[in-house]
């Protein structure tokens, strides 16, 4: 029997959404200060107004929905699902007020891409965008990557059992440390450490490649924020091609690979357990997966004689492949070039790489390596079982931070989510075909959206039909939440309608 959520349940959801909005509104202070420093008066007004609207809404929700009732699992999932939508709606405000987007839908698309660390952009004149607006676009990638929910939790809410339910709803399904507050603060600490070091390295490289010091620092910061969180936004329309720098490309490759490490792994290695780098199932599979993808990409590029030599082919091929596999979306090729010159085999390799993605509990998108590993091990176990007598007991182990035994529940969960991803990839492709795009291109774009990569073959641009924008937006949102929280939201909605 379905129990209909009561007013108190709606209040819990409303209260936590309000908390998230207060955090988001406060975060608008950063681009506001940026606008002040660079004397960009219109952006200053954009962030003052948007910040005030967001904070007002957040405070209003907290006031009207204040309740002492404890947060439950379904609430957590619902809040996680709605947070992304609500945060994107509000984060789009300053972008819309800037006048740099064709419509509010375009600004919303940009905001969702930023928060979900996808990376498609519909901005009309990126090369003339204000510093404050670029600060916001890239900061949103940091905020989204860290998980809006986690940040709001650690700053505004006391620790308790309720906190974990929100965190798990986010799509990061493992606890690093017992106390949710400590987990959130730990994620922020590691990320801050990387932020300082990463920005310094990138800024130095950019300065040596000819950018003036202030711009080198800003671009270094933005490329770090978008790179480490495997987002893929850049401050210029040419993406990484703008800089014409192999040093930068190399540094970014290092950064985005570190960005797909599970946060558990960062914790383990940075606390002294370096052996984890060799034993971890996800890193091992990722290594092999990249090599396999590289084999296919280079084979295709050599056959088609796309590049004039080994170095050029390595530089372009490895950058695009790793950018795709880590679901970052940085590119050193024009979309039309990628699609016309690389050929179907190389593009299939990229699509597979995008679908697989990175580690769980990281900012990467895609099906996730651990799920692939678990399904692979389960297959191996089933094959072995066929060869053994019926009453033989077979236990398969895998190492992920600690040793664990494979069980049916884990495998079922991995397999179901994988199937959901594949289904959404296909549905998105069909939607693209309905709008008149060729199937292969539509499939590429659909996979890129659902896996939150952001590499485009040319379909996603400001002239994209509104209906398809909404479809891709939903795919990006679903992919970010790895579906679980969306089912929570649907279950909540269903029980509102049909429950007693």
């Amino acid at each position: 029997m379905l129990i209909k959520p009561r007013l108190e349940d709606h209040k819990i959801v409303g209260f936590y959404l309000g908390t998230v909005l207060v955090g988001l509104g406060a975060a608008m202070g950063i681009p506001l200060l940026t606008a002040l420093c660079f004397r960009e008066w219109n952006p200053l007004l954009d962030y003052s107004l948007s910040g005030a609207i967001t904070l007002s809404l957040g405070f209003a929700l907290r006031l009207s929905c204040f309740t002492k009732k404890e947060i439950g699992w379904l609430h957590g999932l619902t809040v996680a699902a709605l947070s992304w939508l609500v945060a994107a709606l509000m984060a789009a405000l300053p972008l819309y007020f800037s006048g740099g987007f064709g419509s509010y839908l375009d600004a919303l698309f940009e905001a969702m891409n930023a928060l979900a660390t996808a990376g498609f952009s519909l901005v009309r004149d990126l090369d003339h965008l204000a510093v404050a607006h670029n600060m916001w676009r890239h900061l949103l990638m940091l905020l989204g990557g860290q998980g809006i929910v986690v940040i709001a939790l650690s700053m505004l809410v006391r620790a308790g059992a309720g906190g974990f339910k929100l965190y798990a709803g986010e799509g990061r399904d493992e606890r690093i440390l017992p106390n949710i507050l400590h987990t959130a603060r730990f994620i922020c600490l590691i990320s801050s450490l990387f932020l300082v070091l990463g920005t310094a390295v990138l800024a130095l490289i950019l300065w040596s490649e000819g950018l003036p010091p202030v711009k080198a620092l800003l671009h270094g910061l933005w490329l770090f924020m978008a790179g480490f969180h495997t987002g893929g936004f850049t401050p210029q329309t040419q993406s990484i091609l703008y800089y014409h720098s192999w040093r930068l490309e190399l540094a970014l490759l290092g950064l985005i690979i570190l960005g797909i490490f599970n946060f558990h792994l960062h914790y383990a290695v940075l606390s002294g357990d370096k052996k984890e780098l060799r034993r971890n199932i996800e890193l091992n599979i990722f290594f092999l997966s990249v090599l396999l993808g590289a084999f296919l990409v280079f084979w295709a590029l050599i056959q088609r004689q796309v590049y004039p030599g080994l170095l050029a082919m390595f530089r372009k091929g490895s950058f695009l492949l790793i950018s795709a596999h880590t679901s970052t979306g940085y590119t050193t090729l024009y979309p039309a070039q990628l699609f016309r010159e690389w050929g179907q085999l190389a593009l299939l390799a990229l699509m597979t790489a995008m679908s697989l993605g990175g580690s769980v509990c990281s900012t990467a998108g895609g099906i996730k390596i651990l799920r692939l590993g678990l399904i692979g091990k389960a297959l191996r176990q089933d094959v072995q079982r066929l060869l053994l007598p019926d009453n033989a007991v077979l236990a398969e182990k895998y190492h992920h931070i600690k040793d664990a035994f494979l069980n049916d529940k884990i495998v079922r969960g991995a397999a179901l989510i994988t199937l959901l991803y594949l289904a959404v990839f296909l549905l998105g492709a069909v939607a693209g075909v309905c709008y008149g795009y060729p199937f292969f291109a539509a499939l590429f774009e659909s996979i890129s959206a659902t896996s939150n990569t952001g590499l485009s073959c040319g379909i996603i641009n400001p002239a994209l039909p509104a209906g398809l924008k909404i479809i891709y937006l939903l795919q990006i949102w679903a992919g970010r939440l790895e579906f679980i929280a969306i089912f929570g939201l649907l279950a909540y909605g269903w029980s509102c309608w049909r429950g007693k």
Binding site: V22, G25, E40, W41, N42, L45, D46, S48, L49, G51, A52, I53, L55, S56, F59, A60, R62, L63, F66, F97, D127, H128, L129, A130, V131, E209, G210, L211, P212, K215, Q236, T237, Q238, L241, Y242, Y243, H244, W246, V306, Y307, P308, G309, L311, A312, M313, R315, K316, T332, L333, Y334, A336, Q337, R340, E341
Partner: protein, 153 residues
């Protein structure tokens, strides 16, 4: 007869001088690879030095292309586009490379000549008055709601 051939030559020269759009250059890169092309657009961002040569990025409204050229040729352009500035409009004549061997496979133009077509100018960005009014109203609302919020237990 001689008059006709001179006329055709002039027409041909004029046609050759028409700039080609970036979209065409990218999509038909294989066709233009290694050939002399004319490209026109706004200089954006930064001029990036590389020894005695420089990189310019020139945007023609559809895409930005990387232009590799000598410092003296690049000196034609003094202003690059940014938030406050419309950059110089330049006409670039040079050889297009679909996948430049010298530059890691990048699509670029090695420019032999850069002509300044129109100088850049500062962009006026006047503050919108309605934003000021609304911002003040919402700021007041935020402040009062915030005070009430701080009393929540």
């Amino acid at each position: 007869m001689r008059y006709l051939s001179v006329l055709f030559f002039l027409l041909g020269a004029l046609a050759a001088a028409e700039p080609i759009g970036s979209a065409e250059l990218i999509v038909q890169a294989a066709k233009y690879d290694g050939r002399r092309v004319v490209y026109q657009g706004e200089v954006i961002g930064d001029i990036l030095p590389r020894g005695d040569k420089v990189w310019l990025n020139v945007h023609d409204g559809q895409n930005a292309l990387g232009i590799f050229t000598t410092r003296s040729a690049a000196a034609q352009s003094k202003t690059a586009g940014s938030y406050r500035q419309r950059g110089d409009i330049v006409r670039v004549s040079g050889v297009l490379h679909r996948a430049c061997a010298a530059h890691g496979g990048d699509l670029d133009i090695h420019a032999e000549k850069i002509e300044l077509i129109a100088a850049g100018f500062p962009l006026a960005r006047p503050a919108a008055k309605w934003k000021i009014v609304l911002a003040l109203l919402f700021a007041a609302l935020t402040f009062s709601l915030g005070r009430l919020n701080s009393r929540l237990k």
